[in-house]
């Protein structure tokens, strides 16, 4: 009975699907503009590292249509838009530290005028040495914080005594988020110095507090609203603030509404990207390929400031085990400052880089022993007595072994491996490769205090329900999932639940919608709020039916007792007349997690999300051009809240990971200027990069032992790392062309040029 009426578990369409296809869904730039609205553009640094000896804004100010120009000296509060470390000025003051850094903002009557005027600035620079690579940074030792080490046992000793050992290195590139909607904010002055800021951000509370700091006012003077973003992927977590702060500054100082809509080229040059990594490994293992000791060294290019680099690099360390038990291990992580735009959060948040490293280790071990890489992976999986991570967390409800077995079977991995060997023997000028790689991804912010969420639920007299929570909608389907959860609490159809824009004056002090935690945290908080209203409604119903409150059920739009039922709306009206509150907040904090960063020990994750993928590729030996031929994915989302949404996240995440590892190359020139600053030069996957043979299935999960919303598991980030299988398969294809050669290294992104380089390497 219950299954029939339940909303969670149904493949309900995205709540904005209709708005999306009709163009009626409103993004910040689509909002009607108020009279007098100013349009803004940043003036950008043309140097990677230099002293500013003169900044002449007179021509900018004099340009027709320009209303105002503001720079560092105009900031009343603090010239800082950093999330943690206080090292990201809104406008460079005296020294520029990356090419593209904001120096000033122009406010004009149109955005074309603002953008053109911004280029009229005259700047004298005195160049300083610019650090543009990890190599440069190592030489100058520009670490942002002391190197971090996670260690268990005597890795060196174990490696020395091991029957076999291998070492190698791997570099992974940066990645631009390329959300289709560029960064944007629209600040509207209210009374008495108050400001309403419409921002395309994953972190409205941080935009609120950041704007307040820049303006030098209390947080309660600033309200931030986010109805939806046109994509986020981590790129609108910390990076939305400086745009919003500039708009707020102009609105505050001029008293006029101010909109800053970033041109794509400005957006790409001025906002952070995924961290590029350079990694090394040295591992010891037995004849079966099982590791006994591992030394893993991770170094990242954090760009010009701290941003979230500490947590991101920590997460790289947390995922350098992936699904594998490392009995004795030392993971060392160095975080380097360079004169590039500050690297930032990006789906996976360091996890993908750490995971790439250990998956490379698996391939190297297999190559060394002449084994099938899948066998080597399987014999290193966490398991009974081998279930403690390098940071001391016990791996529970570990779905990977069963999931990988099932996927190997459904994808016919073994047979295809043999077929490919034959195919390769017959094709001298092109080679195929196949790989199966798993993903185990820790769910929770590793900064424990961030794992909290609030929600606000109202029930109106007609029985309609409004839900607000701290999570933001960026396309991931959070709003519909939370609506489904709330609908089930009241036993009503999901279309009775309206989720409205995220606003800091409705739910305060929220964490970013990040770390895949959106529905886990906000779904819980909303359910808690809804349950407290349901409890009151239950009491009213109990009086009405003269029964005990626990005999009342909410289902199918009805509220039932053993003796009869009321329509939900009728009960609500009764509760109103009985003067009961029909509104409630809800608050949730993830239980049982803790972490001691000093020792890198603890239980930082509530649970792990798991999946695996098989990819088959073909590489042209002459040019290095490659194609992905087939993908098979089996992924666990626990008990899915909405399988349509979850499948969409899995496929989209995979394709984004595929872009990171294949075509998406972030290039800087020798002056530190980003040369891939637009889609003409930066190539995210198109639909022809997606193979026709693309199978995705949800693993029949029991949901595990942890108490999540309806037994569901997070799905935002983990699928991105499924694409590691494609990179591993590319390396296998290259290896097939070089029988008997040394182990082939292949960096990411594996562009045709990189693949040809790997093919030609001796």
């Amino acid at each position: 009975m219950r299954e029939l009426t339940q909303e969670t578990g149904k493949p309900t369409a995205h709540d904005s699907a209709l708005g999306h296809v009709t163009g009626q869904a409103i993004y910040v730039d689509d909002m009607p503009e108020l009279p007098g609205t100013l349009h803004l553009a940043f003036g950008r640094s043309e140097r990677a590292h230099a002293k500013i000896t003169a900044l002449d804004l007179s021509e900018v100010r004099a340009a027709s249509g320009v209303v105002a120009v503001f720079c560092a000296e105009d900031i009343a509060g603090k010239n800082d838009v950093s999330p943690v470390a206080g090292d990201d000025p809104l406008f460079a003051d005296g020294t520029v530290i990356y090419h593209g850094q904001a120096l000033f903002v122009v406010a004009a009557t149109t955005k074309q005028i603002a953008r053109k005027a911004a280029r009229l600035v005259k700047i004298n620079y005195q160049d300083l040495p610019a650090i543009l690579s990890i190599t440069d940074a190592r030489a100058a030792n520009t670490q942002l914080e002391p190197a971090q080490e996670m260690r268990r046992g005597d890795a060196s000793g174990q490696i020395t005594n091991a029957a076999h050992k291998v070492k190698g290195k791997l570099a992974t590139g940066a990645q631009d988020h390329f959300y289709l909607e560029g960064q944007i904010a629209y600040a509207i002055p209210g009374e008495a110095g108050q400001l309403l800021v419409h921002s395309s951000t994953q972190h409205p509370s941080e935009v609120q507090s950041g704007v307040a700091h820049v303006l030098g006012v209390a947080a309660n003077q600033i309200t931030v609203e986010v109805r939806r973003m046109g994509g986020g992927f981590g790129g609108k977590e910390t990076q939305a603030l400086f745009i919003a702060a500039a708009a707020a500054l102009v609105a505050d100082q001029t008293g006029r509404p101010a909109k800053l809509c970033m041109d794509r080229d400005d957006d790409m040059a001025m906002t952070g990207k995924r961290h590029g990594f350079e990694m090394q490994y040295h591992v010891g293992f037995d004849d079966s390929g099982r590791m006994c000791g591992a030394k893993l060294d991770l170094a990242s290019d954090c760009g010009c400031s701290m941003d979230l680099s500490a947590a991101i690099n920590d997460r790289a360390m947390f995922h350098a085990d992936n699904a594998y038990f490392l009995p004795a291990v030392t993971i060392c992580s160095q975080r380097f400052r360079t004169n590039k735009v500050s690297a930032t959060a990006f789906r996976g948040f360091g996890g993908p880089q750490g995971m790439m490293l250990i998956e490379r280790v698996m391939d190297h071990i297999a190559d060394h022993l002449g084994l099938d890489p899948l066998e080597v992976r399987q014999c290193n999986f966490y398991g009974p007595e081998r279930d403690i991570t390098p940071y001391g967390q016990q791996v529970k409800d570990f779905e990977i072994p069963a999931l990988v077995d099932e996927l190997a079977q459904t994808s016919a991995y073994g047979e295809r491996l043999q077929q490919i060997k034959k195919w390769n023997a017959a094709h001298p000028m092109s080679k195929r490769g196949i790989a199966l790689t798993p993903v185990k991804f820790g769910i929770s912010f590793t900064t424990t205090f961030l794992n909290q969420a609030g929600a606000l639920v109202h029930v109106y007299r007609d029985g309609s329900i409004a839900v607000n929570h701290g999570g933001t909608e960026m396309g991931q389907g959070l709003f519909i999932k939370v609506a489904q959860v709330v609908a089930d609490v009241f036993g009503v159809p999901v279309d009775m639940v309206q989720i409205s824009a995220t606003r800091t004056d409705k739910v305060p002090n929220t964490s970013a919608t990040a770390a895949s935690s959106g529905s886990d945290l906000n779904g819980m908080a909303a359910a808690i709020a809804a349950r407290s209203i349901r409890e009151r409604l239950g009491e009213v119903a109990a009086v009405h039916f003269d029964c005990a409150p626990d005999e009342i059920t909410f289902e199918g739009g009805k509220v039932s007792s053993p003796d009869g039922y009321l329509n939900f709306a009728d009960l609500v009206e009764q509760a109103y007349l009985a003067r009961r509150s029909l509104s409630s907040t809800g608050f949730y904090a993830t239980p049982d997690i803790f972490y001691d960063r000093a020792s890198h020990q603890g239980t930082p994750f509530f649970y792990y999300a798991c999946g695996a993928a098989v990819c088959e590729v073909e590489v042209d030996m002459a040019t290095g051009e490659a194609r992905l031929l087939r993908v098979d994915i089996l992924h666990s989302v626990g008990k899915s809240l909405n399988p349509a949404i979850d499948l969409g996240q899995i496929e989209g995440g995979f394709m984004q990971g595929l872009g990171w590892l294949t075509n998406e190359e972030v290039c800087f020139d020798d002056k530190g200027r980003l040369t891939t600053h637009a889609p003409s030069t930066y190539k995210i996957p198109t639909c022809s990069d997606r193979p026709d043979h693309f199978n995705i299935a949800l693993f029949a999960s029991t949901g595990g032992t942890v108490r999540t919303v309806n037994g569901s598991k997070a799905v935002g980030e983990p699928p991105l790392m499924l694409a590691i299988a494609a990179h591993s398969a590319l390396r296998a294809a290259v290896t097939a062309a070089k029988p008997g050669a040394e182990f082939t290294e292949l960096d990411a992104p594996a562009t045709a040029e990189t693949l040809l380089g790997a093919l030609s390497a001796s």
Binding site: L180, G230, P428, T686
Partner: protein, 478 residues
């Protein structure tokens, strides 16, 4: 010349008459500004992401041909006399969703939704033109629409299913369009500092060029549009060529194929692909549907880009240009047209009138190397036109794009191969001689060494029996 200062077009069934205040105004700016239709999005403002895709209808005899175009780099003046349909105009009278919209909802084809109106419009153009809904056709139709959320599977599935829904009634706009399309007046709009003309025949064009010899000639605008949106250039005089019917023709004779400079990729694709399948493949991978619906052969040549895809293929085929100006015309070989980087053999007041490609028995092989398979600018494009007799190469023209400051023939390499049987030894010598012909640069698309290596590989692929054609065979066993 009689002149009109109004731009007229039909937008979602309504006649719009506009006197632009800015000659540089794009259609996207008009839609999102004056027309207050904000369903069409700006994602990149350079014609690469497709978020601003809309559909433009033009009369072709008694019916209207619909084309998906990028509104961000389309000047408002370019749609004078056309019908424009934006995402706000595809629903039926009662507000019911169009099949492509319903299919996108049913197959979960949107996530963040920002790219969705663009996908709706690309699919809508496909639907209105009755194009096939198989995966390959759809991938071609959608190569110019980027989506960062879905991974494309649900969108392709929606496209495959779109004909399964009940066909909606459509408004017949033929007569409405006929009224505004048969405008013989020269469009002339001006703002404070700049002016724009759209002559309707060559003699008007020649007069204007006489008067404004440094004017910017505007063909499809798929490259020049970025001068405005990205460089923020102000062009004092723009002369639009799109209304000059004399410049838009495609004709095949016994000698070869004649094409007007304003023939768009979409106009020439079929005839060229029929004659040379390898040429068709290059065109299919040049830009996207939206770009090929706007971009012209003449524009691609006249702007002299070293990485335009047409020039190397046309040079290899021995194409000739007809250049015209008031009172004179001349013919030159295309390979002689490119003098140096950014410099073409084009005098003041002179323009590219037409292109002629001789047909013969020679074979054509082409190879395009780019980071991404679809909708990417070439790192290297190699074109090889040759005849074999008794195993010997009896006729040969090789041209590359991306290897020098201009599209250029590989003369030293041709000399090594001509008259020879392309044995492994000869090919080894020939690949080395490419280094005499070219000293490519390094940039974000490829390094100098990769450009040379892949150029050499393409030569081998063309002439060596042991190579398979991955790019052409795709996943199929070669």
């Amino acid at each position: 010349m009689s002149r009109s200062a109004h731009i007229q077009f039909i937008l979602n069934g309504q006649l719009h008459q506009v006197e632009p205040v800015d000659t540089h105004q794009t259609l996207l700016q008009y839609l999102r500004g004056q027309a207050a239709l904000r369903g069409t999005k700006e994602g990149c403002a350079e014609g690469d992401c497709g978020a601003c895709t809309l559909v433009v209808g033009e009369l072709s005899g008694n019916k209207i041909v619909y084309r998906a175009l990028n509104a961000c780099i389309l000047l408002l003046a370019q749609i004078d006399g056309c019908e424009v349909i934006s995402v706000e105009g595809v629903q039926d009278k009662d507000g019911g969703l169009h099949p492509v919209q319903q299919a996108l909802v049913d197959f979960h084809g949107s996530q963040c939704g920002f790219c969705t109106p663009g996908f709706v419009m690309s699919l809508y153009a496909h639907y209105r033109n009755g194009r096939p809904a198989d995966r390959e056709s759809l991938k071609t139709a959608l190569a110019g629409n980027l989506c960062r959320c879905t991974g494309y599977g649900p969108i392709l599935a929606a496209g495959q299913a779109m004909y399964n829904y009940q066909q909606p009634e459509v408004m017949d706009t033929v007569s409405l369009l006929r009224e505004i399309a048969n405008n013989e007046l020269v469009l002339h709009v001006a703002d404070d500092d700049n002016q724009l003309f759209a002559p309707t025949n060559e003699s008007e064009l020649q007069q204007l060029l006489q008067q404004y010899p440094t004017a910017t000639l505007w063909a499809g605008g798929t490259d020049a549009g970025l001068w405005i949106t990205k460089r923020l250039a102000r062009l004092p005089t723009i002369i639009m060529l799109g209304k000059i019917a004399e410049l838009n023709f495609v004709r095949q004779t016994s000698a070869g194929i004649h094409m007007g400079a304003m023939a768009r990729y979409v106009d020439v694709c079929d005839i060229l692909a029929t004659e040379w399948p390898a040429f068709g493949e290059v065109i299919r991978r040049t830009g996207s549907v939206q770009v090929r619906n706007a971009g012209t052969l003449g524009g691609n040549i006249a702007n002299g880009s070293p990485i335009g895809d047409m020039a190397p293929v046309l040079i290899a085929l021995g194409a000739k240009l007809t250049l015209a100006k008031q009172g004179s015309t001349r013919e030159i070989l295309l390979e002689d047209f490119f003098v140096a980087y950014g410099q073409q053999d084009l005098g003041p007041g002179e323009y590219v009138r037409s292109i002629f490609i001789p047909t013969g028995s020679a074979q054509l092989a082409t190879w395009k190397i780019s980071k991404r398979f679809d909708q990417d600018i070439s790192a290297v494009l190699g074109a090889f036109c040759f005849s074999l007799a008794g195993g010997r190469i009896t006729e040969l023209r090789i041209a590359y794009g991306g290897m020098a400051a201009t599209p250029k023939r590989a003369l030293a390499t041709e000399a090594v191969l001509l008259g020879q049987v392309p044995s492994e030894e000869i090919l080894a010598t020939a690949t080395l001689s490419l280094a005499e012909d070219f000293t490519p640069i390094s940039d974000m698309r490829a390094s100098s060494s990769y450009r040379m290596q892949s150029a050499q590989a393409l030569l081998r692929k063309t002439f060596s029996a042991s190579h398979v054609y991955l790019a052409k065979t795709g996943a199929a066993d070669a």
